[in-house]
Symmetry: C2
Subunit: 120 residues, 2 copies
């Protein structure tokens, strides 16, 4: 995959160990830093991860629109970044954030509130 990764400003040491899907992206989980709520899952390429690490605002890459989006730029529902970690395989990002308002475009606090398949 390495040869097909677009140039980005991401720290080369991080870029070297990042394991991307065939589309060059990794899933990024956004979690509310204090309550632990899992808010949403987005996708990042190297540049989106770089921007998330350096701007203080969570930035994703839209698979459908093929463009970057800064969470909250349209809705005001900003995600202020508190911490960023890779998993043990370096193929998933966990971003702890302070979410302003609703994380979900439906107005729900999280994207997982409204389609519960099982609850014991």
């Amino acid at each position: 995959m390495t040869s097909s990764v677009p140039a980005s400003s991401l720290d080369p040491a991080v870029a070297a160990r990042l394991k991307r899907s065939a589309d060059g992206l990794v899933p990024a989980i956004a979690q509310q830093y204090d309550t632990g709520e899992v808010l949403m899952l987005g996708w990042m390429d190297d540049e989106a991860l770089h921007r998330t690490l350096t701007t203080g605002r969570c930035t994703y890459f839209s698979r459908s629109r093929q463009e970057y989006w800064v969470k909250g730029d349209t809705s005001g529902h900003v995600q202020h970044v508190r911490s960023v970690a890779l998993d043990c395989d370096a193929d998933t990002v966990l971003v702890k954030v302070d979410q302003v308002g609703a994380a979900c475009h439906t107005g729900a606090r999280t994207c997982f509130d409204n389609d519960v398949l099982l609850d014991k």
Copy 2:
């Protein structure tokens, strides 16, 4: 994608709204149900989701080995399923579990403990 989805025992109403990646999978976030810790991210196809919903044990599909794996079958570090939800786009699964022991194959409690890129 619908025509290429392998037959599974998943509830057809759920299968009809599930939005899979090109490889037929959806990311599945495992979260400790009481502490809120994000433990790991795995992948599920329809059958893995069905088994997770019906067996009480978290079941994933390994992208590298192209086979199902029941978390804890080898390690003993079982994930007992407490709830399962889809997100608003039906392309991500959140499974709240009771994790026995370490979630990570490294022995760490979660897969996100050891590669912190930013911590404010």
